[in-house]
Symmetry: C2
Subunit: 115 residues, 2 copies
């Protein structure tokens, strides 16, 4: 007995819904980068460690589909594609900010090795 239904998928908690939309390894790093200005595909690729074309493409597509970022194709030669944050995406930034701050505190209290 699912608590919530959306696009034929079931979610049992609101937190699960958040993770489905902006969770995973790469979505928050992507949102974090495009929050201030538009980024090109290749910029994101270079900037995020261990991010494959497959995963970048997949995550960008989902973020666009879910309304967190916009995709703009600029018809130059070669073509330039830029990704920028939407209003909906902006609303996720305070969440990511808090998670980052909490993460830093947690790592400090766990005596993390900076490297």
């Amino acid at each position: 007995m699912p608590q919530f239904l959306k696009d034929n998928k079931k979610y049992y908690t609101p937190v699960e819904y958040v993770f489905a939309k902006i969770g995973g390894t790469y979505k928050m790093p992507i949102l974090w980068r495009v929050k201030d200005r538009a980024w090109r595909y290749s910029e994101l690729k270079k900037s995020i460690a261990h991010l494959s074309d497959r995963m970048l493409s997949k995550n960008l597509k989902e973020l666009v589909h879910d309304g967190f970022i916009d995709k703009e194709v600029i018809p130059e030669i070669p073509v330039r594609v830029e990704y920028s944050i939407t209003k909906k995406g902006q609303e996720a930034i305070p969440i990511i900010t808090m998670l980052r701050e909490y993460g830093f505190r947690l790592m400090q209290s766990d005596g993390i090795d900076d490297k």
Copy 2:
């Protein structure tokens, strides 16, 4: 080149560290329940949908190991085992609260079907 090392695992962002510690499908639901009082194993089992013994056992052990909850074995017959939140665990509650609130807002703006 990892940015952070802890117990021979590498983390690239603080958010990733948070997810490693209290992410996954069940850890936040568990923390959310024990935040106000101690819960028994069987209570948690009944309360959380689709939670198997394997996953509950595994997640409880990790949460105890990472210091978010305490385990108390009360030597009755049959033995009673209770899990309660620690100070470190309490510090995660505002994060979960925020994620829940954001989740509800997100679901509303996405026109979720309550069910």
